[in-house]
Amino acid sequence: MSDTERGPLVRPYGDTTGDGMVQVSFTLPLPHDKRAEGAALQLAAKMGMSPALLVHAKPMGPDFTFFVVYGSVTHLVDLREVHVVEREFPLLTSAEVNQAVRTHLKRKLVVVGACIGTDAHTVGIDAILNIKGFAGEKGLEYYRELKVVNLGAQVLVPELVASAREVGADAVLVSQVVTQKDAHIHNTTAMSAAFREAFPAGQVPLLVVGGPRFEEGSAQALGVDRVFGRGTTPGEVASYLVHELVASRTSPDPRGEQR
């Protein structure tokens, strides 16, 4: 069924079109009794579930109760009011990426990657950079025309800036998985500020962050050029780098042709 056939208004689907069925689970700080179950149903009603069906209630110690509630939501989703960030660049194959870099940039495109701050989860940056790659796509190290420097985990921002300068990075890729107390936000803004301070305007490497908890469209607020979310593949990142650094370049590379 296409969107137009479905119409602009949709409801959740349980087993019948339009039934609006959802399931939620939550904990209330109440001992398990009739009153607690009533409280759970009241919450469900306020969430727009009507009728709501309390299918499971379990005490967790003397002071808490866990609930599972099924019900039909009264809300409608209007697809005309859903806004998403569409990919702004064409998806290229690895051969096309290499070809574009070779013909237009006439040197290797240099990418520096790291997990910054105290984040030790390299799984994201490795999925994008390591030859092994992610989701069946080889990582950026596999691209002949890309020079990849993976600094690994817990890289300090000054180290990252120094490394980017040393190797003449065209792009800096930073991965952030740990999100407690918004660590990913703080680390990213600190990183972008450091780069903008360390490099003259117009010569700052392309700053790209990725991680499962970044919001789409938050690049500007974070001071970076692009944010990639959950499920990003190496090919998407490579295509984006070409789009930003290679294809759209009309003036000669200010950093010279050979580095």
């Binding site: 689970s25 967790m60 110690g61 984040d119 390299t122 799984v123 817990q154 407690q180 107390k181 660590a183």
Partner: protein, 535 residues
């Protein structure tokens, strides 16, 4: 803790012997290297054992001040204690704390004493440090007495739950609640980044980042709270923290003094995942393990971490290699089999065919290779996608492997791994999962005998033989022979053998805190630990 089981895998004893021999060949030169060096943290740990604690108004511990003062005077090549107790004997200050305070403002002239002054200083230092060692011994006896009197965890695997709020006063009720819900072991996750601090924070702390600082006072508060809960529940609830990072030796000493029961203490984790200098790590690790051995602390090693960066099938042998190395380093430092919580994890991609059979094979291999070690079994993290329903099933299968292979310590997996820090309900559901599997299938250890030369036996043997090959490759690497760092294991760490991380011995954090020992080096803590002496 575990009983000897019949050989389920038909491993060739000659191959097993060869694996251990190779681990020794790889490890021995690194032990020699560790013995030839000391570090600022080893020296600070020694002062802590001698009773020096506290910090200045900026939070810099007095042990740091005193070690730095000696370092900029006669140096640390002969150990910190000789110049320190020489200064005390000369009347530079009435006690250790005052000396440290005076030294912090440059008010003490340290020297390397000679002759009778040397002998006298060493004797005085030994007597002071011995008090700390006896305190560690007393805590060990207290634990043994409490376990005997109150009772132990009702069964294995011990159920290991994590608490992490950042605030010790929030951690305490959470830890007590977790114990009441069934946890046998409480781990207080450390504040992110503490491993890279070159000092141990002081006092009770309420401000952590995704965890709570490891401090002596936090240790004391949590242990006292769990003692209370242990009495209430009729079973001794164990407490775990992290002897890792730049202050590994000091944290080990504090753990011994405050009766922590288990410590995360891997021989290579800091090198690979925190980019701490390899030599610093091996020196610190040896001292910390000597302390753990003495304190009756069970160490937990970190092999699970390799599989978060490397592939769990392809790199299964690196886990076995690391377990063998951890075993060698641990035993060399005096730890016994029952103290070796060697790590491994359920991290094979669940989309692979036979992934569960491979997990079983790997877990059994560890069980068979180290029959008397408790083994720490770690839940899936890498393939927890945010689909909490699938995650709950995966955790169930993880628990099943744990039950079928007789693991000693089971870290409870949360279905919300990679989504949020565990909610109250996540922990409750996770414990229901563990209890269901243990009650329903715990007895399977009795029935489960993989068929001769079947998939599981073959896979386990393959991983073992690949581990032997890798160890062989490591020890026969002669590329660094004749260089400043000829140890083949250091070369392997430098070229990315473990966890796909490249860590050369000349780089990494904390290298400037490594000191080559002089001929007359003296450390009464090491002496007392190695001699098993109390005075």
């Amino acid at each position: 803790m575990s009983t000897r089981r019949p050989a389920l895998l038909d491993l060739d004893p000659a191959v097993v012997r060869r694996a251990r021999r190779l681990a020794r060949t790889a490890g021995k030169p690194v032990v020699d290297l560790a013995k030839a060096h000391t570090t600022v943290s080893v020296e600070r740990a020694t002062l802590r054992l001698a009773g020096l604690s506290g910090a200045d108004h900026e939070g810099t511990p007095w042990v740091n001040h005193l070690v730095d003062a000696v370092r900029s005077g006669p140096g640390l090549e002969h150990g910190v204690t000789t110049p320190v107790w020489d200064a005390l004997r000369r009347g530079e200050a009435p006690d250790l704390l005052t000396l440290a305070q005076k030294a912090s403002s440059g008010g003490v002239q340290f020297r390397l004493p000679e002759g009778r002054d040397l002998t006298g200083s060493r004797k005085a230092a030994r007597s002071a440090v011995a008090k700390g060692i006896r305190a560690v011994d007393a805590q060990r006896r207290t634990r043994e007495r409490m376990v005997a009197k109150i009772g132990d965890a009702p069964r294995t695997p011990w159920i290991y739950l994590i608490v992490a709020t950042g605030d010790i006063h929030e951690d305490i009720p959470q830890a007590q609640a977790a114990a009441r819900e069934g946890a046998d072991v409480i781990a207080v996750i450390r504040s992110t980044g503490q491993s890279l601090l070159d000092f141990v924070p002081e006092g009770a702390t309420r401000e952590g980042y995704a965890g709570t600082y490891a401090t002596q006072e936090n240790f004391r508060l949590m242990r006292a709270a769990l003692d209370e809960t242990s009495k209430e529940l009729g079973r001794y609830v164990r407490l775990t923290n992290y002897a890792s990072g730049l202050c590994m030796p000091e944290i080990a000493a504090l753990a011994g003094l405050e009766r922590l029961d288990m410590m995360l203490n891997d021989s290579m984790y800091g090198i690979l995942f925190r980019d701490i200098n390899p030599i610093r790590t091996f020196v610190d690790q040896r001292f910390s393990r000597q302390v753990h051995a003495r304190a009756g602390i069970i160490i937990n090693t970190g092999e699970d971490n390799y599989l978060t960066t490397a592939d769990a099938v392809e790199s299964a042998n690196t886990v076995t290699v690391s377990q063998l190395l951890n075993e060698y380093f641990a035993k060399e430092a005096g730890l016994e089999d029952w103290q070796l919580g060697l790590g491994h994890a359920f991290e094979i991609n669940p989309d692979l065919p036979d992934s569960f059979r491979m997990e079983l094979a790997h877990a059994l291999l560890a069980r068979q290779l180290f029959p008397d070690a408790p083994l720490k079994w770690m839940p899936p993290t890498k393939h927890m996608t945010g689909d909490v329903f699938r995650g709950y099933l995966l955790d169930g299968f993880f628990n099943l492997v744990g039950a079928m292979t007789g693991q000693g310590i089971l870290l409870v997996g949360m279905m919300t791994e990679a989504v949020v820090t565990p909610w109250l309900s996540d922990r409750d559901l996770a414990l229901q999962n563990v209890r269901y599997v243990m009650d329903a299938a715990g007895g399977l250890t009795e029935d489960f005998h993989p068929p001769r030369d079947g998939f599981i036996q073959t896979r386990a043997r393959q991983v073992l033989s690949e581990a032997v090959e890798l160890l062989d490759e490591i020890v026969s690497d002669t590329s660094t022979r004749g260089t400043a760092h000829p140890q083949p294991l250091l070369a392997a760490i430098a070229d990315g053998t473990f966890g796909a991380m490249k860590r050369p011995p000349t780089k990494g954090k904390g290298l400037d805190g490594v000191v080559v020992k002089a001929d007359g080096y003296d450390n009464p803590a090491t002496t007392l630990l190695e001699e098993g002496a109390t005075r």
